[in-house]
């Protein structure tokens, strides 16, 4: 009898355990956990910091306004130590397994590629606003909200040929798929427009010294130097190119305030074509972000801060709204990833913090407003718009 009683009690207990989570269907929201795997330590820690600030600001704005349809946003940040795939995988496992996040915001090519197979298994949506390697294209569950450098590179070569009279172009680029993608795109454009690539020099990411590459480039007497590198490396490369006596125009695909500091006066007239975020733009979406960011952190937001703000505010928000409207639960595994695929399929127009809409493709690429900018003083100035694949300058 006693045994029967205790058996019954056990069954009831088990039934309760099973029933309670099943019965707790959230009618009016809950907490949406958003994972981030960023460069919180290592040489890229600056980027991790601004990215987490951007996303944090969006979460704060959402939560102060009562959440997205009642769903509060909670950010959980893990560190990939500026590109360490092992650290990214451990962090990703923790986010997906322990925290059960339905979406992860990532940066850098290698960490993103490292966790992508896990994300597919766990039906987690990945948004990348930092890495620019062409290997990031066509990966299930992964959407890039930054234009790949191979998308922007053709325009800067077109600019160089048409406005700067480039005939002999030398390229200096990151020795990885991002840099090689830029180089390949530049060569293809050159071939189309009738200029000649006279030197192609890859370099290690984070190199401080470019003397060997620049010596080889100089020996080929180019009239334009085209850079396919990113971050601080731009500053070092431009600075040393000038010091080594390369006097022709220098063009590229990225500019950061830090690179400007490193490059100093040598950066004058450096010209880029890019999907560039302009903190001075008058677009209401831009203003809402820039003013709040400046009030909080005392400085204008960076391009990278903008991309991760955009992830939460302009990508996740509409997705959650769509799911809730349909009566679904956005925190459920796979809901966000499936909704993203559906939205992209339908050609849903996401808003961009850059101003205007941005178009995400099924292969995970994005089309954003672009322009050609040149360094005047210590700031970038818009010198030409790129609309519908044409430069208007």
């Amino acid at each position: 009898m006693r045994r029967l009683l205790s058996a019954t009690a056990l069954i009831v207990l088990l039934a309760l355990l099973v029933a309670v989570p099943a019965g707790r269907v959230p009618a009016a929201g809950g907490t949406l956990k958003v994972g981030m795997i960023l460069a919180m330590t290592g040489p890229g820690a600056f980027y991790g910091q601004v990215m987490s600030r951007g996303a944090g600001l969006a979460a704060e704005q959402i939560n102060q306004g009562g959440g997205i349809e009642g769903w509060k946003v909670e950010l959980l940040i893990e560190d990939h130590k500026s590109g360490d795939a092992d650290a990214a995988v451990s962090g990703g496992r923790k986010l997906m397994d322990v925290d059960k996040v339905p979406v992860i915001l990532t940066s850098y090519s290698a960490p993103t590629l490292a966790i992508q197979p896990l994300a597919v298994e766990k039906k987690v949506l990945l948004l990348n606003g930092g890495g620019v390697g062409s290997a990031l294209v066509g990966k299930p569950n992964l959407y890039n909200t930054r234009m790949l450098s191979s998308q922007t590179a053709p325009f800067i070569i077109e600019w160089a040929v048409k406005k700067l009279g480039a005939r002999r172009v030398a390229t200096l680029f990151w020795n990885d798929t991002a840099g090689q993608g830029v180089n390949a795109a530049m060569k293809a454009t050159c071939a189309r427009l009738g200029c000649q690539v006279v030197a192609e020099e890859p370099h290690d990411i984070g190199a401080k010294t470019y003397s060997a590459q620049l010596a080889r480039i100089k020996a080929r007497r180019p009239d334009v130097l085209a850079l396919g590198n990113f971050g601080d490396d731009v500053g070092y490369a431009v600075n040393q190119a000038r010091a080594l006596g390369l006097t022709g125009p220098i063009v590229g695909v990225e500019w950061t305030p830090n690179a400007q500091k490193i490059g100093g006066d040598a950066m004058q007239d450096y010209t880029i074509a890019v999907d560039r975020f302009d903190p001075a733009a008058s677009d209401p979406n831009t203003r809402r972000f820039v003013d709040a960011y400046r009030a909080r952190h005392g400085e204008a937001p960076e391009f990278y801060a903008a991309n991760y703000y955009e992830h939460v505010q302009h990508v996740l928000r509409p997705l959650v709204q769509r799911i809730v409207k349909r009566g679904g639960n956005p925190a459920e595994p796979g809901a966000l990833a499936a909704e993203m695929a559906r939205a992209v399929q339908e050609g849903f127009a996401f808003q961009s913090v850059y101003g205007g809409p941005m178009q995400l493709g099924a292969d995970g690429t994005v089309a954003k407003p672009m322009g050609v900018y040149t360094v005047k003083g210590t700031e970038l100035t818009l010198v030409g718009r790129i609309v519908g694949g044409k430069i208007e300058g």
Binding site: K208, T209, S211, A212, A215, K218, A243
Partner: protein, 292 residues
């Protein structure tokens, strides 16, 4: 591709520039290694600490000259602290060469972490030197690189003279070539050790400031240049100061002249291939002084 003389000249100049810094770093490490036989990996920490001291001094508005002096002093003090606080106690308990090497590694890891906590991961610039290009026919280099060469060769030359002409210099050479014998003729080994740590670390401190001047200072800046110093010393042959100088220049030239046949990003690999080859073919180093 046929040989381009202008390119060769430019690469040779680049090689000499890099080589003079390698020579300075090599001599600074080789002096410590030849005398104490400690595989002093933490030399990289000394370099970094000195670079930051230079940056802080310059940032405080005291000028670049004082910044360099402060870097040399900080380097010396850092080296002395490591010898007195770590190596000497280890020798007292008869630690093996391997254990001393591991402690040196541990010290480097710990020290870099402290710098990271204090200064963050971002690079800090060392301002105050007018950066201009100097163009001489087919070759070009910067004023900073001219300063590198001038400083490095002055220091290396000074060190060689000091070792040859002064009493303490001769004592160091005696300990380096035969420690037991030196002890017998009354050279105080402990004091000679302190001396080489002070001098070697002071030199690497200036090297750190030179690096910061061109490439900025950051917590993990030390290891790569110190690896170059190891290579310079082993290329030249342990225990030979002229050997380290030759090794440094050969290394700089090999890395850069490699650009005649290979794309520039292979530079870093070339250095270690050269080292590997020399260790395999001529373990005693290019100048052929046999290892003990």
């Amino acid at each position: 591709m046929d040989l381009d003389l202008g390119l060769a000249a430019q690469l040779a100049v680049n090689g000499l520039i890099a080589g003079s810094l390698y020579a300075l770093l090599g001599v600074s490490w080789g002096l410590v290694f030849a005398t104490t036989r400690i595989f002093h990996f933490a030399h990289a920490l000394t370099l970094t600490v000195a670079a930051y001291v230079a940056v802080l001094t310059a940032a405080a508005g005291l000028g670049l000259g004082l910044g360099f002096a402060a870097a040399a002093l900080a380097g010396s003090l850092c080296g002395l602290a490591i010898e007195l606080g770590v190596y000497r106690p280890l020798r007292r308990v008869q630690a093996t060469q391997l254990n001393i090497f591991l402690a040196s590694l541990g010290l480097l890891i710990a020290g870099e972490s402290v710098l990271l906590i204090l200064f963050g991961p971002e690079a800090s610039t060392l301002p105050g030197f007018p950066l201009e290009g100097i163009v001489l026919g087919p070759v070009a280099f910067t004023t900073i690189e001219a300063l590198w060469m001038g400083t490095a060769w002055a220091l290396v030359g000074g060190l060689v003279l000091w070792l040859r002409l002064t009493r303490w210099g001769r004592a160091i050479r005696a300990v380096a070539s035969n420690p037991e014998l030196a002890q017998c003729v009354g050279v105080d080994r402990a004091r000679v050790f302190l001396l080489v740590f002070a001098v070697g670390s002071g030199l690497v401190g200036i090297g750190g400031a030179l690096l910061a001047l061109r490439d900025t200072a950051s917590p993990f800046m030390g290891v790569t240049p110190i690896l170059a110093a190891f290579i310079a010393v082993f290329l030249g042959g342990i225990g030979s100061i002229p050997g380290a100088v030759v090794g440094g220049v050969v290394l700089g030239l090999a890395e850069n002249m490699g650009g005649l046949v290979l794309p520039g990003h292979w530079q870093g690999v070339i250095a270690f291939v050269v080292l590997f080859a020399v260790l395999v073919v001529r373990p005693a180093g290019l100048l052929g002084i046999a290892p003990r």
